[in-house]
């Protein structure tokens, strides 16, 4: 076994190249608001600009095929890129986007050649930002129960309906969504999966007022929106995977969102909590020396290590072609429950300082206050903790006659 990537001399050379490039290309003045809602238009454009520069090098979606605007690089190169971006305080992509990892994966698997050539390069080059539009008022955990409709009309579809808890602040270029294409057909065989330009007439985006919206520091979404479709005319070319095939298309990105993709980066909030407790005093000594705080910090550390290892396992499984079953939703479940528990631990350790971003009386530039809220809402995006357990049960062969297979991955 080997728990870390091994780099060849060629890859180490690549790291030096990336380091030097980052030095010249990371825009100066990028800030990391504790709550992504504070990301300004100007700051967002800095990030988009950096994304385009990465995209032009093939480094934004490094493992995507060059034919479609990706980097055509192997996993080790992608890891080098992620590590070097992290060292520069950024993520890849450096802004909220549902196109490259999720929607793009579905298009790669289910799109026609023509569709791939048309939709993928702008995504993988960072020229467009894409939102996913899945939930509806009547379709949360039961996503297949979407009510919005797409009715065929000549060479177009006419889309009507309402999506909730979607997108981010500061707009997007494309939206991909799931709607009913056949009101008579059976469940799971009645849906269509569309790529929709966001500037079409009839689309209204209305921000929602929420406790906080999800996402990690800097690359979070800022806000979530309600999106209304009012007789939006979309060319049939934008339907991916065929008429009534939408559920199949969705399984690809749903599986990735359930955590099967895995990841290898660190948990920024945990690092900030530890730093804060080591460098701030209470009753004359560092908080981390207080026996109660120490116990809580160890709780956080242990659970974070478990999540890290399971995400690492998933990352390895995905990239080495090992078939996954329950592993994705398992990592997702544990990550979500850790987030919620952590908000409790932070409250225990820091007291009411965990509840304010006041520069004088808050903690860690507002990051602890933001996590106190984010830990609560993080239990639902991409499927609630309960839904993750439902999926796990199907995948391990209990709860249903037929053992459920994981969705097809690229």
């Amino acid at each position: 076994m080997d728990f870390e990537p091994q780099y060849t001399p060629e890859q180490e050379e690549f790291r030096q190249e990336v380091k030097a490039w980052m030095k010249d290309n990371v825009p100066p003045g990028i800030v990391h608001p504790a709550d992504p809602i504070d990301l300004t238009e100007e700051q967002y454009q800095l990030r988009r600009d950096f994304g385009r520069r990465l995209g032009a090098k093939g480094w934004l979606w490094a493992t995507a095929e060059t034919e479609y605007g990706g980097g055509g690089l192997d996993v080790e190169h992608a890891i080098v890129l992620e590590e070097e971006a992290e060292a520069a305080g950024l993520t890849i992509p450096p802004f909220y986007d549902s196109g490259g990892r999720l929607g793009g994966a579905s298009i790669v698997v289910w799109g026609s050649d023509e569709q791939k050539k048309f939709f993928l390069p702008p995504i993988f080059k960072g020229e467009v930002r894409t939102w996913q539009l899945l939930s509806e008022p009547e379709a949360g955990s039961d996503l297949a129960n979407v009510k919005s409709t797409a009715v065929k009309d000549g060479d177009d579809y006419i889309i009507n309906g309402q999506k909730v808890f979607v997108g981010s602040s500061l707009g997007c270029d494309y939206m991909w969504t799931l709607t009913v294409t056949d009101t008579e057909a059976k469940r799971h065989e009645n849906l269509g999966w569309f790529m929709i330009p966001s500037d079409l007439p009839g689309i209204t985006v209305q921000p929602m007022d929420l406790l906080i919206s999800g996402g990690e520091s800097g690359a979070g979404s800022g806000v979530k929106n309600t999106v209304f479709f009012d007789n939006v005319r979309v060319p049939a070319f934008n339907l991916i995977g065929g008429h009534n095939q939408g559920w199949k298309v969705a399984t690809t990105h749903l599986e990735l969102e359930h955590g099967t993709g895995g990841k290898i980066s660190r948990n920024v909030v945990v690092d900030k909590l530890f730093d804060y407790c080591r460098t701030n005093n209470r009753r004359g000594e560092p908080i981390s020396k207080d026996s109660d705080a120490r116990e809580k910090l160890i709780d956080v550390h242990i659970e974070q290590e478990i999540v890290r290892l399971l995400q690492l396992r998933n990352y390895w499984m995905r990239h080495s072609g090992v078939t996954t079953t329950y592993e994705g939703p398992q990592a997702s479940y544990l990550r979500k429950t850790l987030g919620l528990k952590m908000s409790r631990h932070i409250l225990d350790i820091l007291g009411p300082a965990a509840l304010t971003f006041d520069p004088k009386l808050g903690a860690s530039e507002g990051h602890m206050e933001a996590h106190s809220r984010a830990g609560i809402i993080a239990i639902h995006p991409g499927g609630t903790t309960d839904i993750q357990k439902v999926i796990m049960s199907r995948r391990i062969g209990i709860g249903r006659e037929v053992r459920e297979k994981a969705g097809a991955l690229s």
Partner: protein
């Protein structure tokens, strides 16, 4: 990055699994665990013939010179039984202690015979005032010519009854040094008493006027013996964790099968989300224990600083096996409590191993130290 086993490790895994199924079926394990039935000796004899007891003993001392991950694979499969010791206590913990602190002569004397199972050496460390720190050792070693005379009592000694030799932690009266002394378990001054009840292979060992010459003192002198034991523990713990993982894996499979075949209210009980919750919690405990254990084994193999991973693995592993058994009992209800069903073999093992080489609380404190908190 590669989290798969090597082809050789896969072969070992298959071979050990087959061995455990053949030599240690449930009926045999129940017979061994029974306080009234005679313990069959053939399975252990066959285990000694496999060479597996020498897995971590270097080839120059007649062992296999395997890696820590190899040992993890072996002990995970033994843990599925759970096959009772003293395999881990002797050929892992005691052997590693000898490698850390023994003289060349001692290594040549003991290790080859431990690899063949002829010698079953068990570390007798803890006492009635239970603990795994140096300060918890009270048994006295009084200078006697070139050697020592030992007096005191060891308590809650894991695998103590099956030992041919004890690696006994003792404190010198004159210099207050804690070291290790090798004594034959059949010395007339040694009385071993099985602890009745839920404890799994624990005993009390009374030691009265037992003399040992300097050749029996690990490293020739008491000083440094405790450090050798602690270093060995750091390496033996992840192997023990793999053994606990094997136990959790076995009862996970048992619980999944049961939830699919046991019908109540006209349907398999696995259809009920309350029951699914128990099985998923069990699986989460199992996987957490598995990957923390194997990461620690990997760090040992590549010689990386591993203290934090070792403490993490034992805290998660002991807690995990304990909890996994509880979840399995929730799934099985009455059937799980029947001795003949076999689940309680694991439940008993999980409780005793929870404390062996330090309980989760102990390792959480050490983990905090390792992280510089």
């Amino acid at each position: 990055m590669d989290l798969s086993l090597t082809p050789e490790q896969e072969m070992l895994k298959t071979a050990v699994r087959r061995f455990v199924q053949q030599e240690y079926p449930k009926e045999t394990l129940l017979q061994i665990a029974s306080p009234t039935e005679p313990t069959p000796t053939e399975p252990w004899e066959r285990l000694t013939q496999t060479g597996w007891l020498g897995i971590l003993i270097p080839t120059e001392y007649g062992g296999e010179g395997g890696t820590f991950t190899d040992a993890g694979v072996l002990f995970e499969e033994l843990g599925r039984g759970p096959v009772p010791g003293p395999h881990l206590s002797s050929s892992v913990l005691a052997a590693l202690t000898l490698l850390e602190g023994g003289t060349d002569e001692q290594k040549r004397e003991w290790l080859p015979r431990m690899a063949t199972g002829e010698v079953r050496m068990v570390a007798a460390v803890t006492e009635a005032d239970y603990g795994w720190l140096e300060g918890d050792v009270r048994l006295t070693a009084k200078q006697n010519g070139n050697g020592y005379t030992l007096n005191g009592a060891k308590a809650y000694v894991y695998d103590g009854e099956t030992a041919t030799h004890l690696l006994c932690a003792a404190r010198s009266e004159q210099r207050n040094e804690v070291g290790l002394v090798i004594v034959p378990a059949n010395d007339p001054g040694i009385k071993t008493r099985h602890l009745p009840g839920f404890a799994w292979n624990l005993s009390e060992i009374a030691i009265e006027n037992v003399s040992a010459d300097s050749f029996q003192v690990l490293g020739g002198v008491l000083a440094g013996g405790w450090e050798a034991l602690e270093k060995a523990e750091q390496k033996a713990i992840p192997v023990l964790c793999a053994y606990q993982v094997g136990g959790s894996q076995a009862i996970y499979e048992l619980s999944v099968d049961y939830s699919r075949t046991r019908h109540q209210f006209g349907t398999p009980i696995g259809r009920f989300q309350r029951v699914q919750d128990q099985i998923i919690n069990l699986l989460n405990a199992l996987d957490a224990a598995r990957w923390t254990a194997y990461e620690a084994l990997w760090k040992l193999d590549i010689g990386r600083e591993s203290a934090d991973s070792v403490h993490l693995a034992k805290a998660v592993g002991s807690e995990g096996y304990y909890e996994a058994c509880n979840f399995a009992h929730e799934v099985h209800a009455g059937v799980g409590s029947m001795t003949e069903y076999g689940l309680t073999l694991h439940t008993a093992a999980s409780r005793t191993l929870y404390h062996y080489l330090g309980d989760p609380k102990f390792h959480r404190h050490r983990l905090a130290d390792a992280l510089g908190l």
